[in-house]
């Protein structure tokens, strides 16, 4: 009964945004990831299979050490699984070379890290348009795109500001603008609110929600805060490297 109501609500949202969520944009198949820590083998993921649909806002949750970030890294092709594969928008990423993966990330994926990970020597606009420069866009194109997206995240008046002169919330918004500037097909966020207070966290999540509902942006977010789940369409729960 609860699930039916949830599906209905989802369908209503789909109709509002005009985005059809019935096609799979990421499919992780039987992902196994093992790390060696000294003499010990740590099995961070033990055969996880997930499907995420286009336009979905998905949270990956679970206790500490459950493999949330490891799963995000596999889905976001920041890491390579020991076995299993990840297919993004029809592309089998296991068949890509490191260079091809880099190119794929540059054109198709966006990332928001826990500690913002901005380049301190670049100002807000430069941090945002770096990947657009790399894509070969013209100066006019990348500068206007950076200004537009920074305005959309509420930082239109801080284009030339260096990260060191910004608050944590502002830095995270620049980080979100950077991740979205090249219109990625998926946005990956690894505990984006971990370093922020509740008020700022709410602002960041509101931004995610805005891009998800208004532009149909697919978002995969790792979080350990239960109240964040309310912003998402679906929660993937992990425990001890397996789906719960």
């Amino acid at each position: 009964m609860e699930n039916e109501r949830e599906n209905e609500r989802e369908n209503e949202r789909e109709n509002e945004s005009g985005i059809q969520k019935n096609d799979t944009i990421i499919e992780g198949m039987d992902i196994v990831r093992t790390f060696r820590m000294g003499e010990v083998q740590v099995r961070a993921l033990r055969g996880v299979s997930v499907k995420i649909r286009r336009g979905e806002f998905v949270a990956i949750m679970g206790p500490s050490g459950s493999g949330k970030t490891t799963l995000l890294n596999q889905l976001g092709i920041l890491d390579t699984p020991n076995s299993g594969k990840v297919v993004i928008d029809g592309t089998d990423t296991s068949a890509l070379s490191e260079k091809e993966k880099g190119k794929f990330r540059l054109h198709n994926l966006g990332y928001v890290f826990q500690d913002y990970a901005l380049l301190p020597e670049l100002n807000a606009a430069e941090n945002v348009y770096l990947s657009l420069m790399m894509q070969g866009k013209s100066k006019v194109e990348y500068e206007s795109a950076a200004a537009e997206i920074l305005t959309a995240v509420g930082l239109g008046d801080r284009l030339a500001q260096l990260p060191s002169k910004m608050s944590g919330g502002q830095q995270q918004r620049v980080s979100i603008a950077r991740a979205l500037a090249h219109s990625p097909i998926i946005l990956f966020a690894d505990e984006p609110c971990a370093n922020l207070d509740s008020e700022t966290s709410k602002e960041v999540l509101d931004l995610f929600k805005k891009f998800n509902t208004e532009y149909g942006q697919t978002i995969v977010m790792v979080t350990h805060e239960e109240w964040h789940a309310a912003y998402t369409d679906r929660v993937i729960k992990l425990k001890d490297g397996m789906l719960e």
Binding site: D79, G102, H107, A117, M133, M134, Q135
Partner: protein
């Protein structure tokens, strides 16, 4: 390709302009010093060589030296040959000398040395020995039984090899000179120093005195004729002109005459090359360390750049460009310091060295050579650490695992 270069330049530029100013200034300062060190020794060597050459021409050989034909001990009809040579338009003067080795004795001390028999008037047209007198006077034509001693023979006056000198002969003293078994007393008329130890280890007497001691008086013989030409005359052209005059004697330019100088020059050149190699190695290590420290501090940033799709070679190139810019700035500052600072300063205030005074002579070709080498060292010194780190696993860079 172009967009990649653009991103590399962009990252390098921002890193320099907005990065740690202290590190940038320190790196450029060190590279400036390395460049100065690399060109300084070459400039010193060039300065010393120039000084050597000047001393050689001014006090010993003139521009060209004519020696007896092979297997002949003397040049015959020396004054006729002198007149012939002096007829050449670019010849300022000639001096016919007798030259032999002799033993000087003063009190208990006895040393060997070269003795020149000269015509004082002719000699002053060719060499500057007359101007090098530091005590007493130079010889004049009618003088007999008088001698001019170099300070390495007389001793005193700051002689470099005091222990091998006569131990402090002064003007007016009498020394005994023995040549080919004949001993004669000479009154010291003057003491000279050219500050060039080889020229200062000789003595000059009137040619007539030496002819007498050698038993060749009145025969118009010479063992060498030194020729002085106008400034800027090419020595090889002079030789050709002399040959066309029908001079059959052995003609040597001062370059050929200065065999020992070339030996010293080559030895110094070898030392210079060793010092250059060490300087470059130091440059390489410093650039390596600076870039490595810089890069280790930016490990996470490199990881983030890789994560958002910046290619590895673009990241490496941004660090290499930084190193090249540091090296370029260091070279320019170092060159300006040498060209407009140190070299002109030493020309205005020559440095005292045992051989005399010396000024630095900066050779542009050498400076370009050192600049290129420093550039190459900076490229290699930055490529290795940048490549090694940028090649690491993305997550390892981001999470520093």
């Amino acid at each position: 390709m172009l967009e990649k270069a653009k991103v590399s330049f962009f990252l390098a530029g921002r890193s320099i302009t907005r990065g740690n100013k202290g590190i940038t200034i320190f790196t450029i300062f060190v590279l400036t010093l390395i460049f100065v060190q690399l060109v300084l020794f070459s400039s010193m060597l060039a300065g010393v060589t120039l000084k050597f050459n000047e001393l050689m021409v001014d006090y010993q050989t003139g521009n060209v030296v004519i020696e007896p034909e092979e297997e002949q001990r003397y040049i015959e009809d020396a004054s006729a040959l002198q007149k012939k040579i002096e007829s050449l338009p670019r010849v300022l003067g000639t001096t016919a000398r007798l030259k032999t080795s002799g033993n000087f004795r003063y009190k208990e001390k006895e040393i060997g040395g070269t003795v020149y028999g000269i015509d004082p008037m002719d000699e002053s047209f060719v060499t500057a020995i007359e101007d090098a007198i530091i005590s007493g006077e130079f010889l004049s034509r009618p003088d007999r039984g008088e001698i001019i001693l170099g300070r390495e023979v007389s001793g005193g006056f700051g002689a470099l090899m005091e222990s091998r000198s006569l131990g402090g002969v002064e003007v007016g003293d009498t020394v005994e000179l023995t040549i080919e078994g004949k001993t004669r007393e000479f009154r010291v008329k003057g003491i000279y120093t050219t500050r060039y130890f080889m020229a200062d280890a000789s003595a000059y007497i009137n040619r007539a005195d030496l002819e007498e001691m050698l038993g060749v008086e009145g025969q118009d013989l010479a063992q060498e004729i030194a020729v002085r030409t106008t400034a800027g005359t090419d020595e090889y052209e002079t030789r050709m002109a002399l040959l066309s005059l029908g001079v059959r004697e052995n003609i040597r330019t001062w370059h050929e005459f200065a065999g020992i100088l070339r030996l010293i020059e080559n030895t110094l050149g070898l030392i210079r090359n060793i010092m250059n190699a060490i300087g470059l190695l130091i440059a390489f290590v410093i650039i390596f360390v600076v870039i490595y420290v810089n890069i280790v501090n930016k490990k996470r940033q490199i990881g983030v750049q890789k994560a958002i799709g910046i290619e590895q070679n673009v990241i490496v190139a941004s660090f290499v460009l930084q190193a090249m810019l540091y090296a370029g700035t260091g070279v320019i500052l170092g060159y300006c310091f040498m060209r407009f600072g140190l070299a002109p300063y030493t020309v205005a205030h020559p440095v005292e060295i045992p051989l005399g005074t010396m000024s630095l002579k900066l050779d542009d070709a050498e400076a370009i050579n050192r600049a290129v080498l420093l550039f190459l060292a900076s490229i290699v010194g930055s490529v290795i650490p940048a490549y090694k780190l940028a090649q690491k696993d993305l997550l390892e860079l981001i999470w520093d695992k």
